[in-house]
């Protein structure tokens, strides 16, 4: 079974960077897949990778990370201004961040409007099916 945990923007916006990253990492270490509203700052993404490396051991093998963010180029000037004002007033809650434990999530593939999350079980099932087809 795969468990997803939604993390709303308001739950992390007040937290300092280190606590924000820790909160996300603790959920992932508990074998749950984080779906976070908004995205981390670029420096925080790097810090998340560094902190993940510090946690790697026999039980935790790292993370799969993916950020989906609306394309900046496809908006008109008025929408861009609206987005800037909204992000100043409410924070940057655009986009979606997905973080999964590497022991469960093998790969996250993203297209502009679609996410494909390949779990280890799914890939094992795929290999078994391919082997069965070969035997036939």
């Amino acid at each position: 079974m795969v468990t997803f945990q939604f993390v709303p923007y308001q739950d992390i916006v007040e937290l300092p960077s280190a606590k924000r990253i820790n909160k996300l990492l603790n959920i992932v270490k508990d074998n749950r897949i984080v779906i976070m509203e908004g995205r981390l700052k670029k420096e925080e993404e790097c810090e998340l990778i560094a902190m993940t490396m510090g946690e790697i051991g026999p039980r935790f093998k790292g993370i799969e990370l993916s950020v989906i963010y609306p394309e900046k180029g496809s908006k008109d000037a008025l929408t861009k201004v609206k987005d800037v004002v909204t992000s100043i007033l409410l924070g940057n809650r655009q986009g979606l961040t997905i973080i999964g434990p590497a022991s469960i999530v093998k790969k996250i593939e993203k297209n502009p409007d679609k996410i494909e999350l390949l779990t280890k079980e799914a890939s094992l099932l795929q290999i078994t099916q391919q082997n069965q087809q070969r035997k036939r």
Partner: protein, 212 residues
């Protein structure tokens, strides 16, 4: 005491006329197995006549920051560029010692390698702040849209560090430099084969543009 205080302030503001400019640091960054160490060796062999790092088909061969001081290259106009070349461990979000077992390492060595690799990734990230310019080495045969690549690029951009992207392994049929150009249109991309030296002159020429 007071002199040293003002000297520190001026240095921090880049205004100290007496401060000796430290040598330009050129970092090689990227995911594991992109060919950073092969490129480092190519540069060192071409200009110093000696290799810099060991390379291997097993990921995370480079697990420590390696620095080669005083590398001087020349372009076609005989202009010289001197820098410290910094080869960094590949940045990854996951490291599983069982992957190394599958590559033929014994359990003890595999665990040791995994431990060292995690430390290597942390060091690579810490060293980002020390770089004056960065060459991001990507495997031209793989999908460039990975979150690790995007995170590296985003952090270099946030730190305003000049970037040159190398699409490596263009000697392989699967290599597709256009996909890398489309993924990161804001940066110059040069396709090379670090292993065989293909298009390496173009790469050196681009290095001059990067730090001018």
């Amino acid at each position: 005491m007071a002199g040293s205080f003002w000297s520190n302030i001026l240095s921090k503001l880049n205004l100290n006329p007496f401060a000796k400019r430290s040598q330009l640091k050129l970092g090689l960054y990227g995911p594991p197995n992109g060919g950073k160490s092969t490129l480092a060796n190519r540069i060192c062999m071409d200009w110093l006549g000696e290799e810099m790092s060991t390379v291997s088909h097993v990921a995370h061969e480079t697990r420590e920051i390696t620095i080669k001081e005083q590398v001087t290259i020349k372009n076609k106009k005989n202009k010289e560029l001197t820098f410290s070349l910094v080869d960094t461990p590949g940045i990854a979000t996951k490291i599983d010692y069982e992957d190394f077992l599958r590559k033929g390492l014994n359990k003890l060595d595999a665990k040791k390698r995994a431990k060292e690799a995690t430390k290597g990734v942390i060091d690579s990230i810490k060293w980002l702040d020390n770089m004056d310019a960065v060459v991001v080495v990507l495997d031209g045969t793989t999908d460039p849209y990975s979150q690790v690549n995007i995170t590296i690029m985003g952090n270099l951009q946030a730190r305003k560090i000049p970037v040159l992207i190398v699409a490596n392994k263009v000697d392989l049929r699967k290599a597709n430099i256009d996909v890398i150009k489309a993924a990161f249109p804001q940066y110059p991309v040069v396709g090379i084969s670090a292993k065989y030296g293909k298009n390496i002159e173009d790469f050196y020429e681009q290095l001059f543009n990067l730090v001018k």
